[in-house]
Point group: D2
């Protein structure tokens, strides 16, 4: 079987996660979020983010989390601002629009939103005399790290938050790959800081060592009223909530969540060296997703040996390709990649 | 810890299911439904239902399956007919309406829909000159077994199907507890027959031994066009689809799904005897959910020893209570119940 | 051409309304609700209801007004309580569900909701431990007069309002035929009283002398934030808002609205006498809609001479039929009816 | 009162329209689209577009028509392609998203969509391996004339239609100002040709001489099944449908629709001359909306004498402004404008 760098959801759960599922399996528990592991995991997360008042809900997947949070926090007539490349705008089959909310797009700068562009847009919006005929912006959605593997600095997030406060918008941070962002060498803040600098975010489990599960966090106990009903209405309430609870209990024991992320980042940085040594142009990314520019000949050649994703054509002859690491990536996998590149 | 008969989702997964998750965990696979176990499980199900052409999708939970299937098969302006006690009408926080579809209700007969009442309703509807101002019925939704533990006979389903065919309605069978219905002594058909007598149904995993997962089946390859996009749009597409695939692979190996159901039914029938011997009035139910009428004094007394759900008040002094068995129910659990009743 | 009692929307506008449209036609004005006649009409209505702070919006039709108001005042996950026969539950093609809101039904008593049944339902709802799996009720919707021509007394509305206040529900009164209710001999309150006893209501124009138009009133300036955007989002904002403004300006000049209603009621009461004298059983109704029980032979016979609506079959041989009066009904029309009945 | 060029909906109805409303007012008729004038108007339109099989529905306004048609013709999971400046994307408060449909945007070329850009986008979409995670395009929406007053040539529309056919997309032409496009000197086709080159379009009444009303046309009898229910569900069904029917009956009598448009275009062309002579830079537009670039000093100066709309800032010192003509614009109005410009 070929070595795969296709994604961070091609492997099973991290051993400590799957073992915890096994060892708790025989025990009876409450359901729908009231099981003991969910409660335990919520407390561990509250400690990790230093928000004892936080409301925390475990949902199954990222699209579901985005749709449920956005629908839960917006008024019916409000839209959500995101960059053009934002996951909700591109790869969720219209799940946000399915609840009636427009995704209003701003330019993407290597996946990131620019606070001053956001502010200029809002200023123009509020000066527009036809405002009553438009979608009212109610939220800013950003991803950390972005779909392109880049990370915001604390200053950049702070500036976006300031604009949000000024215009009374909620700030929502999609953390489907949150661990990898926090473990990045470029990241100048920690989880507790992040929790202080948004209205809601989620800690992605699916792509960081779990089988499924995203922990949606309202840091200041600011979950919308009846949020459980909203979750249920979105089909996002697990009957056997232990499935998510047990996994997050494991992920927040002995710092596993960040250990997983750190390992994947280490592997990704070694991967960058391998590509660089092979003379392959690399996009900037300090996280576990690496984007390289391959000629189509190179691409087809490497495909014989290792698996990866093509991202987008760069003209007729070149293609941007994505290589991803995870908890399961080994030095041996990297050796396979190195060997594949050496035969180019 | 008290013995619990609260529900069939208070325990972990059946040992064969959790073991399969463990033993496959180390293997890499494709995602979003293209992993090998999902493919294998689909084939095993196709064999079990004798529908080689069936389209099968694994979703996470019941409300999600109901909302996605109903939204996927109806036109925007169509509604779904269900009995008053139907799960979609009562306990899904409006997930069906969230997609814009009205739940049109008919009387419930111990949880079941009556084919002749359905027909009379449809006849009156089509004779109504104000039809253009009404919600067009597009689907009939029934549960098997019902929320009250009862089962339809083959004849009853066949009659409902005939009405559906006559009026061009889809027939959707919610099988959140499907196994328990099929294993009931009153059930006069099998899984393959069921697949021939509806347009879509699902095989519930969550309540029949899995940690999560419902297998939505379009028996004649009749999934709506772009159903994957519809699933994604509902936030119901698992990235690590192996989670559902592996579990259904186990459930459809060596007949595990029916073995689990059979065990729970055996326990439920023993439970009936215990209640009957204690002189407690029982509602008819041949499945794993048993409904008994307790005086409030009895109810509080029993609660000291075993856990169960109160279902609905019966006047001021009596309460309908629900006791549920599952793969995990043991003879010892029943002994605890028997002892609790003996002290009344 | 046959004399028609089919509905109160079969005629054009009342002469004073159509004349006002003509006389203002040449004048230029602002649009989207900012024209001078809309402003003038709003002020006249504020005076009539004695609510100087009222927010008033002119929408085009009843279904649109219901859908827009309900969507505007409810949270996404909330439903609206109505009686089984309520217009939103029967004859709006699912316009309320189209915005994602469930219509939760209570029994209809000749079209009316019973305050104690409402209270009992709410009490049971709040005692239900599965509340997080249900649709949260957010509003009570009643019609005045009802679809069956009946009227609530002040005491009945007051009791419903008390229950709403106790359970924090909004009270919405659909006044598509409001004038006829107020002009009824059984009505023991006036428009100003009504405005004090609900959260929002509308003054129906279409069925009371206008060509189109419903005045949605939030009596205490309590329109939802950004309600104009909500109206626009529902496609309910007239570009040439003068169309509605001019008509309501006429309707609230020299008491025209009530004069129209009074005339229709007078005609309806004379009609009752005619039916009674002919020995035809009549349902109770003090407004402009009269429901009579005809044998099918009588029904077909009368149809040769005058037009009316069949409402619903009463067994195999009899039919409930509806006869409606309006501003345009004349004594001569009643004579035609009388003559038709005399030949039975 | 100042002369106004603010919009084509600031005046009442064209005299022939308002007179027809008056002269038909006394007559009784059916409702909900079955009145005699609606039927007559439908027939006149069928003749004008040379489509005897056309399905025609009269709705009240443009946003409503757009939302209803798009929702009626798309599958739930489909989106609609429009240029960035398209009315549905900018000025309808999210009415399209309210039904769950994403507006997917392409670049705007003076308000127009480019067929080759459309094709390139569709080609890339269908080559995208993540297609199952995206919104499926189901329709192309264009406006004729555009929001910027420009018109497509027959060749341009034909090319867009070809792409639509190749990719199985519906083509919808928003004709809120259709008359002005057809009367433009640059327009090289007529109404009958247009009807042959799309799947659905509407003939705007509100902005072309009526008080309200848009005639939605499915040229080949291709209205979606149960379209009346869809219209009702969108709150877009007039009870007194005569209101729209009578007006369209007038608009399609003696060629009034095009006479109105022709007059407005003549006035607009004279207006262009006046601006040109005053040295004011004009954008290309052969229809009744004229866009001129004014310095902010000029803008404020002219505002003292005539009314118009500011469209968008052009840097810090200049503003794009819109001047609109209609059936009601007179030579005297133009003289007022000319005088205002002369005093600059």
């Amino acid at each position: 079987m070929k070595t795969s760098f296709e994604s961070d959801y091609n492997n099973g759960a991290h051993p400590e996660v799957i073992c915890h599922l096994l060892e708790t399996n025989g025990k009876q528990s409450q359901s729908y979020g009231f099981d003991e592991w969910s409660e335990q995991a919520r407390n561990k997360i509250r400690t990790a983010i230093k928000c004892p008042e936080a409301d925390i809900f475990f949902l199954v997947g990222g699209t579901q989390a985005n749709a449920t949070v956005i629908d839960g926090m917006l008024q019916t007539y409000e839209g959500v601002l995101a960059v053009q490349t934002g996951h909700i705008n591109v790869h969720e089959s219209g799940a946000v629009e399915a609840s009636g909310h427009k995704v209003i797009t701003l330019p993407s700068h290597a996946g990131k939103m620019d606070a001053s562009e956001l502010e200029a847009w809002l200023e123009a919006f509020h000066a527009d005399p036809t405002l009553e005929h438009m979608v009212i912006p109610g939220m800013v959605y950003i991803t950390f790290p972005t779909e392109l593997g880049t990370v915001y600095t604390a200053k950049e997030i702070d500036e976006i938050l300031s604009v949000c406060r000024r215009y009374e918008l909620k700030l929502f941070i999609d953390g489907a790959r949150l661990g990898y962002g926090l473990a990045s060498a470029e990241c100048d803040f920690d989880l507790a800081w992040l929790a202080q600098h948004c209205d809601v975010f989620y800690i992605g489990g699916t792509k960081v060592g779990a089988l499924c599960g995203e922990a949606v966090v309202f840091p200041r106990g600011n979950a919308p009223r009846h949020f459980m009903n909203i979750v249920k209405r979105h089909g996002a309430l697990l009957a056997k909530s232990r499935l998510a609870g047990v996994q997050f209990d494991a992920l927040f024991t002995d710092n596993l969540y960040l250990r997983i992320a750190k390992h994947a980042i280490d592997m990704a940085m070694k991967m960058r060296t391998i590509f660089a040594e092979a003379g392959i142009p690399l996009r900037d990314s300090s996280t576990n997703q690496q984007f390289v520019e391959l000629t189509n000949t190179q691409m087809e050649h490497i495909m014989h040996d290792v698996l990866f994703e093509t991202w987008e054509p760069l003209g007729a002859d070149r293609t941007l390709c994505r290589f991803v690491t995870s908890w399961a990536t080994t030095d041996r996998d990297l050796r396979d990649l190195k060997e594949a590149l050496e035969t180019l």
